[in-house]
């Protein structure tokens, strides 16, 4: 049965030509001996082939002609060498800038009297345009950040206090903290570190700040508390009862982590496997650290990572070679799976401190909630699918919403008025740089905001399922 589960997991990769050689041999051996899996493999292969044919046939009509390509290349040349005629949007600005430039030139305001006013007026128009677009990007950024902070607050307010929280609620709380931390990393880069206060004052202050209304303050408090050394343990244990109910799970996990740090590191997940002439040993410890040791012909190679996210990201080749996949606390190596219960996985995810894909955890936690309410298998599958569909739609809705702000060219012109050529170049360059940075942050916010919106829906579904 376990072999069949592992075989099904590997089938798609074999059909796609992406399976490691050793694994392919194992899968072929299994298929030769298991009629059910062989049938399923044949069906999936047929579906993939049919899908490929259908797509190639449908998209075959998306053809271009040589004339079309030639015309495009010409347009690209013109775009690379724009004429002096400016786009209508800034043409008016050029006229104004030209007047300003000529007036400034006539009154000797330019430092270099041999600079032609029309060159500077074009530059002024470009700088004004860049400044206007920069301000619009800033406005979009602020609008999106405000919406994300509002949504975060809304999700937090719907989570029950720790005493009443189910694993589904704890999954949501952990995901919300992780997403909030990521938003704050982008929105509020860390300033200068403050001089360390007395340890008691530091712990008390940060515990109080956990309950702040401001996301930035909460994220900073979490970061400070997580950097505490083991000698802070007695202070945290004493304070636990007086911490707000909503934050008690977080603080108790910190306490567990500090307690475990003072003991010998214990294994939480261990997988050993032989693949051909290689032996691989995977371990994840209680502090979420991972060690993978590969032994081949007497030589050993070891890699370490803090959590599965880091392992999959930094050691991609190794993971592909040995078919390592999964998440903290639930790992697959080759055809062997090993994992902890949901609460154990949440604990390791907490300690790994890496943003992760929470979808499988949400699914498992929600499934357990429904099982506890005696949902039969059919109803369970149907409700799980419905919950996931609603979460995806919520994510799509946020991603597809417009976050627009108009570019105010008049204001841009006001900023550049009176500037000399050097200053105009600096303004334009700095504005373009900032626009590029803002656009990167906005894209990240859209990604995180979509996840928070999906999480909001998940929390609502969990609340409904609890009734």
């Amino acid at each position: 049965m376990e072999e069949c589960t592992a075989a099904r997991r590997a089938m798609e990769a074999l059909i796609d030509g992406e399976l490691a050689i050793a694994e392919e041999a194992d899968l072929q051996t299994h298929l030769a001996g298991c009629a059910s899996c062989a049938r399923e493999f044949a069906e999936r292969k047929a579906v993939s082939a049919s899908l490929g044919r259908a797509l190639r046939s449908a998209l075959g009509s998306a053809r271009s002609t040589p004339a079309e390509k030639k015309a495009l290349a010409e347009r690209m040349v013109r775009a690379a060498h724009p004429p002096l005629v400016l786009a209508p949007r800034i043409a008016a600005a050029v006229a104004v800038a030209a007047i300003l430039g000529i007036v400034a030139y006539a009154t000797g305001l330019f430092r270099k009297p041999n600079v032609h006013p029309s060159t500077t007026s074009g530059l002024a128009a470009e700088a004004a345009d860049a400044v206007a677009r920069r301000d619009a990007a800033r406005a979009r950024y602020e609008k999106l950040l405000a919406e994300i902070e509002r949504m975060t607050e809304e999700v937090r307010s719907q989570l029950p206090p720790n005493g009443e929280a189910t694993p589904a609620d704890r999954t949501a709380a952990l995901e919300l903290s992780a997403l909030e931390d990521q938003v704050c990393e982008i929105a509020y880069p860390p300033g200068k570190p403050e001089p360390p206060a007395d340890l008691t004052a530091q712990v008390d202050g940060n515990l109080r700040n956990l309950g702040s209304d401001r996301a930035q303050v909460r994220a900073s408090a979490r970061k400070q508390l997580r950097s505490l050394r083991p000698d802070a343990l007695p202070l945290l244990e004493t304070a636990l009862e007086s911490v707000r109910k909503q934050d008690r799970w977080f603080v108790s996990k910190l306490i567990d982590e500090l307690r475990d740090a003072s003991e010998e590191r214990r294994d939480r997940v261990v997988v050993r496997q032989s693949q051909g002439d290689r032996q691989i040993e995977f371990r994840q410890f209680g502090d979420a650290q991972i060690e993978v040791v590969v032994t081949q012909k007497g030589t050993q190679r070891k890699v370490t990572a803090r959590g599965m996210n880091e392992l999959l990201r930094k050691h991609e080749d190794l993971c592909r070679q040995f078919a390592i996949s999964g998440r903290d606390g639930s790992v697959v190596v080759g055809d062997v799976e090993s994992g902890m219960e949901l609460d154990g996985q949440l604990e390791l995810l907490f300690r790994a401190r890496n943003a992760s894909d929470f979808s499988p955890l949400r699914r498992e936690a929600y499934s357990k909630l429904l099982e506890a309410r005696r949902a039969d298998e059919k109803e369970l599958e149907s409700r799980l699918a419905e919950m996931e569909k609603k979460c995806r739609q919520a994510e799509d809705r946020l991603r597809q919403s417009a976050w627009t702000a108009p570019a105010d060219l008049d204001r841009g012109m006001a900023v550049v008025r009176g500037c000399d050529e050097a200053r105009l170049r600096t303004l334009r360059s700095e504005a373009e740089q900032e626009i590029s940075e803002m656009e990167t942050k906005i894209r990240e916010f859209l990604r995180l905001g979509a996840r928070i919106n999906g999480l909001k829906t998940y929390v609502q579904e969990v609340k409904a399922a609890r009734k």
Binding site: L51, L59, A62, R63, K69, Q400, A405
Partner: protein, 186 residues
């Protein structure tokens, strides 16, 4: 002694040479860039926005790339970069088709519901009709795999996601479409 015309086969440019040529505004570099990537982008655009808008989208992508070339740092392949521009332009196109207002939030700060996008293939029960129902990430993953013949690792780079996510997206897309291909084949 007679001499005949000799057909010259110019050596293909490396990617670095191509980028440098485009940055310098050379016509032959743009010809080469279009020759190498236009059909691929046109197919991807077709899958994202449909036949009617695909040509415009693909062309806008190239023009946007010309303007953004100074910012291209070469950290990814040129094709990966072009596809990311295409995806951004596709999003902008969809937003402009919905005629967004400049204040999308209502008085209570809730996002307004988006009007439904135009049908990609109105009234047609083809694979493209089913494809449009898939989220964009699944759709794009399918096209990059089946049409562009990319490996998981390449797709992961284009889509900026882990390889495991590429696998699960392909699996999910096939599950969702398998009923359709089953009907088609019978």
């Amino acid at each position: 002694m007679t001499t005949g015309a000799v057909a010259l086969t110019l050596p293909s440019m490396t990617e670095e040479e191509l980028i440098a040529g485009c940055r310098a505004g050379r016509r032959e570099a743009f010809d080469e860039m279009v020759s190498r990537y236009y059909d691929r982008l046109h197919r991807l655009a077709y899958a994202l926005v449909g036949a009617e808008a695909a040509r415009d989208l693909a062309q806008e992508t190239f023009l946007a790339a010309v303007k953004s070339l100074p910012n291209f740092r070469g950290e990814s392949r040129l094709s990966t970069w072009l596809i990311s521009i295409l995806r951004n332009r596709a999003s902008l196109l969809r937003r402009s088709e919905r005629k967004w207002r400049t204040a999308p939030l209502n008085d209570e700060g809730e996002p307004l519901a988006a009007p439904q996008p135009k049908e990609l293939e109105t009234g047609l029960k083809t694979i493209l009709g089913r494809l449009k129902d898939l989220p964009e990430d699944l759709r794009l993953t399918l096209i990059l795999f089946y049409i562009e013949g990319m490996k998981y690792a390449e797709i992961a780079q284009v889509m900026s996601c882990p390889i495991g996510t590429v696998r699960s997206r392909l699996f999910e897309a096939r599950e969702r479409l398998k009923t359709f291909v089953g009907e088609k084949e019978t």
